[in-house]
Amino acid sequence: MLKIENLHASIGEKEILKGINLTVNPGEVHAIMGPNGSGKSTLASVLAGREDYEVTSGSVTYRDMDLLELSPEERAREGVFLAFQYPIEIPGVTTINFLKTAINEIRKHRGEEALDAVSFLKRMKEKSKLVEIDQSLLSRSLNEGFSGGEKKRNEIFQMAMLEPRLAILDETDSGLDIDALRIVANGVNLLKTPNNATIVVTHYQRLLDYIVPDFVHVLWNGKIIKSGTKELALELEEKGYDWVKAEAALV
């Protein structure tokens, strides 16, 4: 589904990603871990198409397309979804309002008919239950006056509504208490199918107690320095990152 090869990306003069290689197949959950400043969020942003970053070399192939050639909206319509680390507030724009437009843009792109109001509301009701988000929040201005947990649940709610093929969760666990974490993780697990894939970017292991990854990658200094299975996450939790860094330095 996704193949990242030797990806280099910079912001301004500063190179942040220094040769990322990663392959993600349908049905898989990949966790990307690493200390602060290692490039985790940059990777998520580059995949979603944020224009602040410049890709200097390498390639990203997504379902036989050159992902880097696609605009952010084209990526979304092809099924890429980014759950933001810091969901922003947009006064005057309600979640329902832009999601309805978004879903229909995506459907149009796929040659499907627009969703009528009744089906949309039905889907909304169903998915809001899944992430335990109060429906009244969805007809308010996006994230305005939402708690941290509500903002993150709203991201997962949008993901549920848009049914992406590739979801990228950028530090969705940061700032969440244990209940919110469980709700968010539960939502992600319920949305998992053999056809879609998830990349979970996280600083802490605790989210992985709830979302069990198939693969764990350690990102440091713009490179993946170690990959493994879920046991690697537990080892990192116990021993920190230093030993991985040391190991990488030896190679």
């Binding site: 979603a48 198409g49 944020r50 224009e51 605009s71 952010p72 909206e73 990526r75 979304a76 319509r77 979804f81 980014l82 933001f84 969901p87 922003i88 947009i90 006064p91 005057g92 724009v93 309002n97 832009f98 999601l99 437009t101 978004a102 879903i103 843009e105 995506i106 792109h109 201005s141 949008q158 848009l162």
Partner: protein, 420 residues
């Protein structure tokens, strides 16, 4: 003061035309006007808004008697009472003929201004000189609750040359009465038109008055509004103006809050994608204890549109416990669009809460990216964001009929804005 020779000629021409139609009732005004000049940019109050007229054009003073136009679509004002000013004069035959209960409507026969002008200016004197020919006086009875909004529709039918029109409206709203007015300004653009309008609104004790204005200009139109309001104890006055299209618009809004516990709310929304020039000059005078004023003026400009916001708040020494807020928020979508924002606070009382602020910027990148990352294209995302920006003002138009009317005009303008 050095004046532009073209404007000086215009003044002489207007004075002569007024004299020929009105005789003695105009004398005082004409004598005053003769001593005054049209403002130029050296005048501090007109620094960023230069009043000018079309070159080599003779302006014909019109005081009514226009041909009834086919273009008055009364159905657009369904659910409202309709009063029509044709070629600058109130025209009874085109207005709602039904008897409005609680309301007295009559032509101004002899002008007695019941509000005092802060600035003795030529526009004011010129308008006063023809008020007995074209003006309208509206009296709202005590305790009258007028449910339907009263639409005052201004239109022009004169096509033989450029026209100069001077509508005048005087409104007195009795104690505890409630009423909503909406002025709709339209010119079809066949000929240049200058509209020199004056509104005087006297709001008595505990009355609630909402005054809306929808200003739609074209490249050859100029609209100068001088709106003077006085409010009594516990009165609530709301003024909301939406300015669209092209041309020159100058709104002078002066509110004197004369007595205690009265509120005044002022809102503006300007949207322009071409050569629109909108100048809001507001002047709020708090003259009693425990009064509140609140101003929010927004604009979204692209192309060569220009906005001016000059908001003056004067708090008299006696006006303790005044709350006065003022905010101007502007989005510029092109490099040629401009906004000048100037707050002026003069506070002589010591126990007051006053604030002012102005923001001028582009649309933020972050919300655009957020919406694009959900599948919206860039133009749709931008449109959604400017609509959201405008909705804060639009939602203050609560009456259904008026809301629909304002919304349709704002959306149409917004499409022109984003498509450029």
């Amino acid at each position: 003061m050095k004046t532009n020779p073209q404007l000086e000629d215009l003044k002489l021409s207007l004075l002569a035309q007024i004299q020929s139609v009105s005789k003695e009732k105009s004398t005082i005004f004409l004598e005053e006007a003769d001593q005054l000049h049209f403002p130029n940019s050296k005048n501090e109050e007109w620094k960023y808004s230069s009043f000018s007229v079309s070159k080599d054009t003779n302006y014909t003073l019109r005081t009514g008697q226009g041909k009834a136009m086919a273009s008055i679509h009364a159905e657009a004002f369904e659910g409202c009472h309709l009063l029509v000013f044709l070629d600058g004069a109130f025209t009874e035959s085109l207005s709602s003929t039904e008897v409005l209960k609680g309301l007295t409507i009559k032509k101004i026969n002899h002008l007695e201004t019941f509000t005092s002008a802060y600035e003795n200016n030529i526009f004011n004197q010129l308008n006063g000189s023809t008020a007995h020919l074209s003006g309208l006086s509206i009296q709202v009875n005590e305790k009258a609750i007028i449910e339907k909004p009263i639409v005052i529709f201004h239109c022009n039918s004169y096509t033989e040359s450029a026209a100069w029109v001077q509508p005048r409206i005087q409104v007195q709203v009795g104690e505890r009465a409630e009423v909503t007015f909406a002025e709709i300004w339209q010119s079809d653009g066949a000929q240049p038109v200058v509209t020199n309008a004056v509104q005087e609104i006297d709001v008595k004790k505990s009355a609630i008055v909402k005054w809306f204005s929808l200003e739609k200009g074209n490249k050859d139109s100029s609209l100068i509004n001088q709106t003077r309001v006085e409010t009594a104890e516990k009165a609530v006055f709301q003024h909301l103006v939406v300015s669209l299209g092209e041309g020159f618009i100058r709104n002078n809004l002066e509110i004197k809050i004369n007595s205690t516990e009265a509120d005044a709310h002022m809102y503006g929304l300007s949207i322009g994608s071409a050569k629109l020039h909108v100048d809001h000059h507001t002047f709020i005078n708090h003259k009693a204890v425990n009064t509140t004023s609140n101003q929010l003026y927004k604009s979204i400009f692209s192309g060569k549109a220009t906005g001016v916001f000059n908001g003056k708040i004067l708090v008299d020494q006696v006006a303790q416990k005044t709350n006065a807020y003022q905010s101007s928020k502007n989005i510029l979508l092109s490099t040629d669009a401009k906004v000048y924002a100037k707050p002026q606070l003069e506070i002589f009382a010591d126990d007051v809460k006053c604030s002012h602020g102005a923001t001028i910027g582009q649309l933020d990148e972050e919300p655009i990216f957020y919406l694009r990352s959900r599948g919206l294209d860039e133009a749709t995302a931008k449109q959604m964001l400017v609509q959201a920006f405008a909705s804060e003002i639009l939602m203050k138009v609560e009456n259904k009929s008026l809301h629909a009317l304002f919304e349709a005009e704002i959306m149409a303008e917004m499409e022109r804005l984003v498509s450029k």
